[in-house]
């Protein structure tokens, strides 16, 4: 597939991304403004606050909440274009800055987890395909179980075992790398379950293909067959899955960051949810949507470069 086509495709996808973000913003904006609930109340210390009527009115004026909805919508779009996500109701600080401070932790967590999941999956796939019937059964069981583990449960068990019982790893994140181990593992294991199932079946299929037989007929070793041939075929669907995986991981981060007391988007979002801090929720959703869209574009391009066959289609639908 020639570079130009790739670039053209990327351009198209970027256009699509802009559309998606606009849609997400619009959707969330109207959804939030069409449901009952007084933002001004939320701004003034949330439910149970004893804000006076004057205070409420002043806030409404300050935040332009007394404007017609469409005016507010236009204002929001205008702000978005300039990268301004508005101010947090609870913290009174710009949402953009708030998210900026949090996003790195979450991305590091998610990407590390993605890498670990890949390593686990590849290892398991390579081992199980070379192992006999029994080995495959075991691997299959492991994968199924891993994929079925709820993050919070896994996290709890891991803490109980590795922190409380064995005392090997810190139960909450700290500056040291050791604090990252349990959160990353918690996130990675279920994903590894999914990926491994995918890769193993894909590898087994590939190994049955005539081209594998041809390769074997040239004297290729079993290992060679797996690494040079099967693995690349197994990797493709898994790559396409990685876009979805990042979304999955960010979802999981909400739980994991809470359990392991890690700063990050997940906890920011959760807290904003409890405080009904609408701007923050919308901001996080938008940013995550952006990350997701970019990720799918990336995986799409990668898989296309990795696979000259234009037969399989990346992207949604």
């Amino acid at each position: 597939m020639p570079r130009s086509r790739v670039l053209r495709r990327v351009a198209l996808r970027l256009a699509g991304a802009v559309f998606v973000l606009w849609a997400v913003a619009t959707l969330t904006f109207f959804a939030i403004h069409l449901v009952p609930g007084d933002p001004a109340q939320a701004i003034l210390g949330g439910p149970g606050s004893q804000a006076s009527q004057e205070a409420l009115d002043r806030v409404r004026a300050d935040y332009g909440l007394d404007q017609p909805l469409l005016v507010q919508y236009a204002a929001m779009l205008g702000r978005l274009l300039s990268g301004d996500l508005g101010d947090s109701y609870a913290l009174k600080t710009p949402v953009a800055g708030l998210i900026g401070g949090q996003i790195l932790g979450t991305l590091v967590l998610a990407l590390l987890a993605l890498v670990v999941a890949w390593v686990l999956a590849v290892a398991l796939a390579l081992w199980s395909t070379s192992a006999g019937r029994a080995g495959r059964a075991i691997a299959g069981g492991l994968e199924l179980t891993a994929a079925a583990l709820p993050h919070f449960w896994l996290a709890t068990v891991l803490i109980a075992v590795f922190s409380t019982a064995l005392g090997w790893l810190p139960p909450v994140s700290n500056d040291a790398a050791s604090g990252l181990v349990l959160p990353v593992v918690t996130l990675a294991v279920p994903l590894a379950g999914f990926l491994a199932q995918l890769m193993r079946e894909q590898m087994l299929q590939a190994l049955e293909e005539p081209f594998a037989v041809s390769a074997a007929a040239r004297g290729e070793t079993a290992a060679g067959l797996r690494f040079r041939h099967a693995l690349r075929h197994a990797a493709l669907p898994a790559i396409n899955l990685s876009g979805w995986a990042v979304g999955y991981l960010i979802s999981g981060a909400v739980v994991v960051e809470t359990v392991f007391a890690r700063p990050g988007l997940g906890r920011t979002l959760l807290r904003a949810t409890e405080l009904r801090d609408v701007p923050v929720v919308v901001g996080v959703v938008l940013v995550v949507a952006l990350v997701y869209v970019l990720m799918t574009i990336a995986t799409d391009v990668v898989s296309r470069l990795a696979d000259p066959r234009t037969t399989h289609s990346g992207g949604a639908t």
Binding site: F19, V35, A148, L198, R276, A316
Partner: protein, 284 residues
């Protein structure tokens, strides 16, 4: 937010092969158990799940209490059984919502011609851009927490995946040579749609549903854990887990056993989904 690609292959016959017979048997057995637990919980409950006995609080697992007792001295096993209905209900209805919406979108895209297909494709991208829990949290911000919201949230977040798969199936079948053959025989569009396209394209729905329920249960329980789904004292697994987690240092059984049920349920649905997939994979 079940594993798209996997269900996709499960559906498109490139399936993950049929699980070993033993696994299938075990899965079926567990399903039977779940059904009993849902329909006639009393049959399986040695104790009244709501009977308070503060003096017997925090008893570890024993012959008397297989899963131990909780902070109010209630029998954890009986409560786990009691919770089956609630937990499955959430999982099932979430999947139903997701499938219904997925069907709608998928059908529009797969049968509605280029424009609709494009439109739905974009809609799908938008929905995909709210990964799982985020969509859930957003919905919860809007409508407040609770089992219903959680169910809807999980359902919505699974819809685009289903939509994509169903559209793919519809397109595949529409292009199949047996549909062409039917046209050559002189059948009208409507008849071809009803007799060939829909029956074949929608066959995998059972598979999707089965695979989906397990994952739906997991995500719903995650919301319960975050205190945004079902709440204690509701004997819903996620809620039980969340409540039990407080006592993890002193009473591990409060956390471990409900979690185990969730894991087993998910494994079971996956195994059965595979079996079904292998079945109609063979029929293709």
């Amino acid at each position: 937010m079940s594993d798209l690609e996997l269900s996709n292959r499960a559906v498109s016959g490139r399936a993950l092969p049929r699980p070993p017979r033993v696994g299938t048997m075990l899965a079926l057995a567990f399903v039977a158990y779940l059904i009993v637990a849902t329909a006639w919980p009393a049959v399986l409950q040695p104790y009244d799940p709501d009977a308070i006995a503060p003096r017997d609080a925090f008893d570890p697992p024993s012959p008397a209490h297989w899963f131990g007792t909780d902070e109010s001295g209630r029998d954890v096993y009986s409560r786990v059984v009691e919770g089956t209905a609630a937990s499955l209900l959430i999982g099932v209805s979430a999947t139903a919502i997701g499938l219904a919406l997925g069907l709608l979108l998928g059908a529009l895209a797969g049968l509605g011609g280029r424009v609709l297909d494009f439109a739905v494709g974009r809609v799908n991208e938008v929905l995909f851009a709210f990964p799982g829990i985020l969509l859930a949290l957003l919905i919860i911000v809007l409508w407040g927490p609770g089992p219903v919201t959680a169910t809807i949230a999980v359902g919505l977040s699974t819809a685009p995946g289903y939509a994509r798969i169903i559209r793919g199936e519809l397109v595949r079948v529409r292009g199949s040579s047996y549909v062409e053959a039917a046209r050559v025989l002189g059948h009208g569009r409507g008849r071809v749609l009803l007799r060939h396209i829909l029956p074949n394209a929608l066959a995998p729905i059972t598979v999707l549903a089965t695979l989906g329920i397990g994952q739906a249960v997991v995500w719903a329980s995650a919301l319960s854990y975050l205190g945004l789904g079902a709440q204690p004292p509701a004997a819903e697994w996620g809620a039980m887990l969340a409540a039990g987690r407080t006592y993890i240092t002193t009473a591990w059984w409060l956390t471990v056993f409900p979690g185990l049920m969730i894991v087993l349920t998910t494994i079971t649905t996956t195994v059965l989904g595979r079996v079904l997939a292998a079945r109609d994979g063979a029929a293709r």
